[in-house]
């Protein structure tokens, strides 16, 4: 009974810690409990990496601009050992410049900023009307084709915008005309095609420039910059999407670089690379201000997850879901009495479902494990030792991934490609364990445990992806103490499991 007393004490402490901190953050600091009535705040992070060369280094990055719909605020350039300053170029572009006397090995520089919806101040354009750039020179037969295309576009349009739209439609037509086909010869990829569009518009004496930026609705790590084309219609610059011909900036497009400016420049370093990541935080609109206002006073906020670099935040928003998955497993196994194959295997499967989506994930899991079991059934006839056998199963699993991906791709089933998100070591172990189970206990037991695992994974997935749950644990990570307290309580539960009400039912009839 002594251990039980200790347990109660720990539970009380954990509950007080977890609920206390959460309550303080909620009432004193204004962290909302539900993600409802929210405003999306995107945290965008640019990450520069390069190899230092022991010489003084200066890295500069063009910074994002406000638009009519977006406000860029709270920029942080977190990079120890570097001086950081903002510089305004002649073209009114703002650049961030990091500098240091010496740099060695791999250096990482972060630029992090928050973007809100709201009316922002786009950068001022020079008063002077822009002059059209020099006409590009095409070689034959492209020159003739370009002329024909321009003529066609000119005839079917009224002004610069409609001309551009017409031309983009022609360039992107599913069955391009002969002229277009000639022009597109040797053009590979979106970027080169955009360059061609720019050159063609310049031939028509329209001032144009490229606009690179981030579509904020694409959330995740390693985002690429998207390219738009801006043209001057005699009055102002207007963006046009070179893929669809749509005019104007989308509400969530964050411009990062215009025209011929450098996006990034590293002097004194080599092998530089730039990557972007976007994370969307749902913050209650009313509370955004409170949160920011208190940031400097309250230590607890200073130590919140929101202050970490975005990539790390992304990782934690997933890591924090794992304890919830563990709680689901504990409840299903110890209170409900569902049997699973491998204790925490269902959590890993549930995490894989995050990437594959639920339905596709279930189908893929059943196919991979099913086919794996069949092949493993043959392997067991060869009487292999444990470790070589496991290794063989692992190779079979990877082979299955490859086969599924290729077949799925050829059949146009893109969802199948996400099969690689299933952790293969775990899948291999699952197949091995189920196969042994099959030989020792029969197919029925395999169905029970396999079905139990899948059911647990599905339930864990549903709980983990619930918007309120995910938000709550990211905003209040101290609630993990509460989860721990609940798990400790279940750990000492000696009552019946739900399944035992059925199992031992015959015993109540004597």
């Amino acid at each position: 009974m002594h251990s039980r007393l200790q347990l109660y004490l720990w539970m009380a402490v954990l509950l007080m810690l977890g609920l206390g901190a959460a309550a303080y953050k909620h009432w004193e600091l204004g962290f909302p409990l539900v993600p409802g009535k929210t405003q999306t705040v995107w945290t965008v992070e640019a990450r520069i990496e390069f190899e230092g060369t022991d010489r003084p280094v200066k890295a500069s990055l063009n910074l994002p601009d406000d638009t009519e719909n977006l406000v860029v605020v709270e920029s942080v350039a977190a990079s120890p050992g570097y001086g950081f300053e903002l510089m305004k170029s002649k073209e009114h572009e703002v650049r961030g410049v990091w500098s240091a006397r010496q740099s060695k090995d791999t250096q990482t520089l972060y630029y992090k900023t928050n973007v809100y919806r709201g009316k922002g101040k786009p950068p001022e354009e020079p008063k002077k009307k822009p002059k059209p750039a020099d006409k590009p020179v095409f070689t034959e037969p492209k020159a003739t084709a370009a002329n024909a295309l321009l003529e066609d576009a000119y005839r079917h349009s009224a002004d610069a915008e409609t001309l551009a739209i017409r031309m983009i439609e022609q360039l992107n037509a599913e069955k391009p005309e002969d002229n277009v086909r000639i022009l597109l010869q040797g053009i590979k990829g979106r970027s080169q095609k955009n360059q061609l569009t720019v050159e063609l518009l310049r031939s028509a004496e329209i001032p144009v420039r490229l606009l690179r930026g981030i579509e904020l609705t694409d959330i995740g790590r390693r985002q690429n910059l998207q390219e738009l084309i801006e043209l001057y219609n005699g009055d102002q610059w207007i963006a046009i999407d070179p893929r669809s011909g749509e005019l104007g900036l989308s509400e969530t497009f964050l411009p990062w670089q215009r025209g011929d400016q450098w996006l990034m420049q590293v002097e004194g370093g080599k092998d530089s690379s730039l990557s972007f990541s976007v994370i969307a935080n749902e913050r209650a609109g009313r509370n955004v201000a409170i949160l920011l206002g208190r940031e400097e006073q309250a230590g607890i906020v200073d130590f919140s997850l929101f202050t970490l670099p975005v990539e790390v935040q992304n990782t934690f928003s997933i890591l924090l879901l794992i304890p919830i998955g563990a709680l689901v497993v504990v409840i299903l196994r110890n209170l409900v009495g569902i049997r699973t194959s491998g204790t925490f295997m269902p959590i890993l499967i549930a995490l894989a479902f995050l990437q594959t989506t639920l339905f596709v994930g279930i189908v893929l899991f059943v196919v991979v494990v099913g086919v794996g079991l069949m092949i493993r059934g043959y392997l067991s006839r060869l009487n292999l030792l444990l470790v070589p056998r496991l290794a063989a199963v692992l190779i079979v699993v990877i082979g299955l991934y490859v086969a599924l991906s290729i077949i799925g791709f050829k059949m146009g089933l893109m969802g199948v490609l996400s099969v690689t998100y299933f952790p293969m070591i775990i899948i291999a172990w699952t197949i091995e364990r189920m196969s042994v189970l099959w030989e020792e206990e029969g197919a029925r037991e395999v169905m029970i445990q396999g079905g139990g695992s899948l059911l647990t994974a599905i339930l864990a997935h549903l709980v983990m992806t619930e918007r309120h749950v995910a938000y709550l644990f990211f905003a209040f990570p101290e609630l993990l103490f509460v989860v721990l307290a609940i798990i400790l309580a279940i750990g000492q539960y000696t009552g019946y499991r739900l399944s035992e009400l059925r199992r031992f039912e015959p015993l109540t009839r004597y």
Binding site: N334, L385, E441, Y493, T494, Y496, R497, P506, L507, T508
Partner: protein
């Protein structure tokens, strides 16, 4: 027919659930560092011999592949023997040789194998094919048990054994496990073997279940299961009680077979015995365990295994009254 009991009903019936078994019976009574005493049959056997517990005689142990060379000479005088992995579980990897057919060895199933087959099997044992987690193992060669006739009509192919649960040295509950064609000759209840609850004071059958449902006759042999009376019962209970002294495990499952000449023998001990025994007995473990706890609290000294067995033989003598109310 899908019936469900309320927790209250199960509680009144004194049923212990898996959570109680894990938290109270196993975690509080079975120190983990004593588990190897029962998980490794060779260790169990050595402990048993020291503690005066009857076990099938150990004829030899193969520890290294190199020793297989000396095996033909060793096996020559043996007509019947059993090869088993020391760390195997649920009967995996056990070969029973009942005789010779010229150069070949005859298994209990009637099939034959060559010496080459045997040495390959032993190699598999040594490399851990049958042990938990694939750990390296040793192969034990034992004398074959000559099963007593009592169970002759009550079992199909497999080996009948008696499971006794021993709580803090006191035998609590017992059942016989009889294989059927449905269980493929195995004595595992969840694979369709029959569990026969035995009166702990007399060794008489109380009640029998197959797949958790009551049965009256053995489905393969047609024998009436209630007719089972296990002979040498007092001796068997004393043997079970004694297992506690050598293993120091407070919640223990002793698997016992009856040899024609030597009487009850321990073939395996289990530190995590399951709860199906409650279903076979038609009653719960909890009141009996509470009765033992109460008895222990009232004692001035630790009782010997004989005294504990004697106590158990009279303490749980309510088999008759159960039948009356049922």
């Amino acid at each position: 027919m899908f019936r469900i009991a309320t927790p209250g009903k199960l509680k009144r019936a004194g049923i212990s659930g898996m959570n109680r078994r894990n938290v109270e019976y196993i975690a509080q009574n079975n120190p983990r560092h004593h588990f190897p005493r029962v998980d490794d049959k060779l260790v169990t056997k050595q402990l048993a011999l020291h503690g005066g517990i009857a076990v099938p005689t150990l004829l030899g142990v193969v520890k290294y592949t190199g020793q297989i060379k000396r095996l033909p000479k060793f096996l020559e005088p043996l007509e019947q023997f059993v090869i088993k992995p020391s760390k195997g579980s649920s009967g995996k990897g056990i070969i029973v040789i009942v005789g010779r057919d010229g150069e070949r060895f005859v298994k209990s199933s009637g099939k034959t194998m060559t010496f080459h087959d045997i040495s390959r099997h032993i190699n598999n044992i040594l490399s851990g094919l049958f042990s938990l987690g694939g750990r390296p193992d040793v192969a034990m060669i034992e004398e074959m048990v000559r099963f007593a006739d009592v169970f002759e009509n009550f079992t199909y192919e497999g080996v009948p054994d008696i499971r006794v649960i021993v709580y803090k040295g006191y035998p609590v509950m017992a059942m016989a496990r009889l294989s059927t064609s449905a269980s493929d000759g195995k004595a595992n209840l969840h694979q369709g073997a029959i569990g026969v609850g035995l009166d702990i004071s007399t060794g008489r059958a109380l009640h029998a279940v197959q797949n958790a449902r009551p049965v009256e006759y053995h489905p393969d042999t047609g024998a009436r299961l209630k007719d089972i009376v296990v002979p040498q019962w007092d001796e068997l209970i004393r043997l079970a009680a004694n297992c506690h002294d050598v293993t120091e495990l407070g919640y223990l499952g002793a698997d016992i077979v009856l040899d024609k000449e030597r009487g009850p023998l321990i073939i395996e001990l289990n530190a995590r015995p399951g709860l199906a025994i409650q279903v076979a007995n038609g009653s719960g473990l909890k009141p009996r365990i509470e009765k033992i706890e109460h008895e222990i609290r009232g004692q001035l000294r630790r009782l010997s295994s004989e005294e504990r067995a004697a106590w158990s033989l009279q303490a749980f003598n309510y088999g008759e009254s159960e039948e009356d109310t049922g």
